[in-house]
Symmetry: C2
Subunit: 420 residues, 2 copies
């Protein structure tokens, strides 16, 4: 049952409608136990805030190689006025000193070593003469600065991260440093991918006359993974209403969201919106988006699950997945689409039909004054153009020509790893 | 044997020395067969150029739903002057039409359908009246524009990608579209990670007095993976010269590169540079970098293999891996460090000791006029600061204070996926 449908309006209006229709999606939460932390957690999303379980550092320690001292003993020490202290032993790395430090004494400590009770400063080894059982301090000023106090980094109970935060390499280290060995993470959403069409064949198969290569199964799978989802690839679906309906029902049942490529246009074979609309409420929210590439795109919500109908054209499909599908799918995590745009200088003039929003692929490179964006123009059939693009620039409906040299915001296309 | 050593000089000088010392690394090349393409290839690096094996599209086809025609038959058709054509059948999706198109005839075609021989245009279905066995064309101008010619996207033999290119989702689609089912890829370099120190314990273990949590095993493993390498985590290595020497020999033998954390300082226990230097030529290239964080960092090359000695301090280790280690490791792929910096407006004044380069972690956010960078300052012990950083800003040695509002280049920290 269709309750509301936005037809062929602006992309940002379509997106707002779709997001409003989605209540929070009840993603499963997985508790990850000690052994797994650090394994493959980078990129995962926290389902609950994390508090420090321990102070970090867990004890007051030296930040240099040298001698633990009482700061007052050495404050006046300088080259014309050396202070002699008795060396009362050393602190081995990873051990707690048994004895407190007596006035007039010094204890040898390595960087990171546990300071004995009573020590209030550390003299760097290059600031004293080491006589074996004694030292002569040549420069004792600022010995307090060579101490890192217990809890200086993190105090037990501090909030280290919030629900919705993504685990970066540094964040994983930060949590480990505060003794956190168990995390509540959202399960990675399973996103079904249904690629429709009788004419498409895999790149490994023989290409019979009239058939074309399956691009979307490969590019959309890779893009979904790069966006942080777990794509579930269903077999290519034949262009028959009953076959599609059965495949859709199974995918909808097994996954957290469904992405369909092809079959969302207005052609005779395009029964996708009809079958999706019959699956439940609120139903199809958007059918047709005034953006190029992208026009025959569908956004639906069935219960809590997003269903995204992408155009069959591979460039349109990938561009719409990035610019409409991704923010809708991220809503399952409760996250906004918070990727950061690159500001870049346009290298060529753009004079496009102003009745539509245009999403222009660009290649980014370093110029003399910041980044430069070379527009890669072509028809939406030209997949090889998108294959060389780094980012998309939106030229909104109603814009006049954009001159070469203008500053534009370029949204990076999703990719795995930071390797470029 | 040490042949040359750069001691405590600028980071960019250190890096240039290390890169000069590395000849091309003989990474293994893996041929990936059809079934695997698209599986997990995003982020992998091509070892050889890729040529199109087929034209894309592989045949001349319609770009709209409508009727294939001879363009000359309909060029003059308009609402006051309709042209009537006989409908001579239809082209099913994915099939090649058996008969050529006769003058005065039209054949029904779907978007993407194979045009019959003789057809030179397509009239959109909304531009004609469909009478069943005939059509009346109401607007016939520009029918040639609704055709995508064979090879319009890619021609057989075109170079689609070069050695060193990284497979993005779109690039994977592009290659599939041109019939490429077998790729020569570099094997993902195996990078050994040796974390040294008697004092470190895993986040799951009890924290005995004097011990600290192992941060580097977790954060460096995640960072190496996010950079596109395959980290191989060796057990934590005890602070004994013979134990370290044996662990290093094994890691060096089993992997393409070795990253060591800890033990590269000038303390008594820091025998790392000595053992690495004895392993072969050219040996230790850099020992000590005039950057903060980072000073006790070592870069060595043994034969073709890079060996990177990072500080034990977790913030210093991660920052040096990003800014010195990553470009050296990427040299194994023959790639430069071509990550793109974000230009951002600094939100606070930086007035730092100008005798060193500073690598300042920043959090990036959208402001009214582009991105803003909030410096996260602290001592290098403060891992929780790096845990909230998005990027690093380099303030070169000799810089005066950098005022709030200045534009700076922020290098994004490596992360898995585009999820933020």
């Amino acid at each position: 049952m269709l309750t509301s449908t936005v037809d062929r309006t602006l992309r940002r209006v379509c997106l707002a409608h779709a997001l409003r229709a989605m209540s929070a999606y009840p993603l499963r939460v997985a508790a990850v136990e000690p052994a797994a932390i650090g394994a493959d957690l980078a990129g995962r999303v926290l389902a609950a805030p994390v508090h420090a379980l321990e102070d970090a550092p867990p004890f007051t320690r030296s930040s240099v190689d040298g001698f633990a001292v009482r700061a007052a003993d050495v404050a006046a020490a300088k080259s014309g006025n050396v202070v002699r202290l008795t060396v009362a032993g050393d602190v081995p790395m990873g051990a707690k000193p048994a004895q407190p430090l007596q006035p007039g004494h010094a204890v040898r400590v390595p960087t990171g070593g546990f300071l004995p009770a009573g020590a209030t400063g550390v003299v760097k080894k290059e600031d004293c003469r080491d006589l074996g059982d004694a030292i002569e301090v040549v420069d004792g000023a600022g010995s307090e600065d060579h101490i890192t106090h217990q809890g200086a980094d993190v105090r037990r109970g501090d909030v280290l991260a919030r629900a919705g935060d993504v685990l970066t390499p540094a964040a994983i280290g930060m949590l480990s440093g505060a003794g956190v060995a168990r995390l509540e993470l959202f399960a990675v959403p399973r996103v079904a991918l249904l690629v429709t069409g009788d004419e498409i064949v895999s790149p490994a198969a023989a290409l019979r006359p009239g058939a074309v290569r399956d691009i979307n199964s490969l590019s959309l799978t890779a893009a979904l993974r790069a966006m942080g989802f777990a794509p579930v690839n269903y077999e290519r679906v034949a262009d028959r209403k009953d076959v599609f309906a059965a495949a859709f029902a199974r995918a909808f049942d097994e996954c957290d969201a469904v992405v369909i490529s092809g079959g969302s246009s207005v052609g005779e074979r395009d029964y996708t919106p009809q079958i999706v609309a019959q699956a439940g409420e609120p139903g199809v929210i958007v059918h047709g988006v005034r953006a190029k590439p992208g026009r025959p795109t569908m956004l639906a919500v069935i219960g809590d699950k997003p269903v995204i109908g992408l155009p069959g054209n591979p460039v349109s499909a990938l561009v719409m997945l990035e610019t409409l599908g991704k923010p809708v799918l991220l809503r399952m995590y409760g996250k906004p689409n918070d990727a950061l745009p690159y500001r870049a200088r346009l290298r060529a003039r753009l004079d496009l039909d102003s009745t539509l929003e245009h999403l222009v692929p660009v290649a980014l490179s370093r110029g003399d004054d910041g980044l430069e964006a070379v527009p890669l123009l072509g028809t939406s059939s030209e997949m090889h153009i998108l294959g060389h693009a780094d980012a998309l620039v939106s030229i909104p409906e109603g814009s006049g020509p954009v001159e070469a040299g203008s500053l534009v915001d370029a949204m990076p296309l999703s990719r795995m790893t930071s390797l470029r």
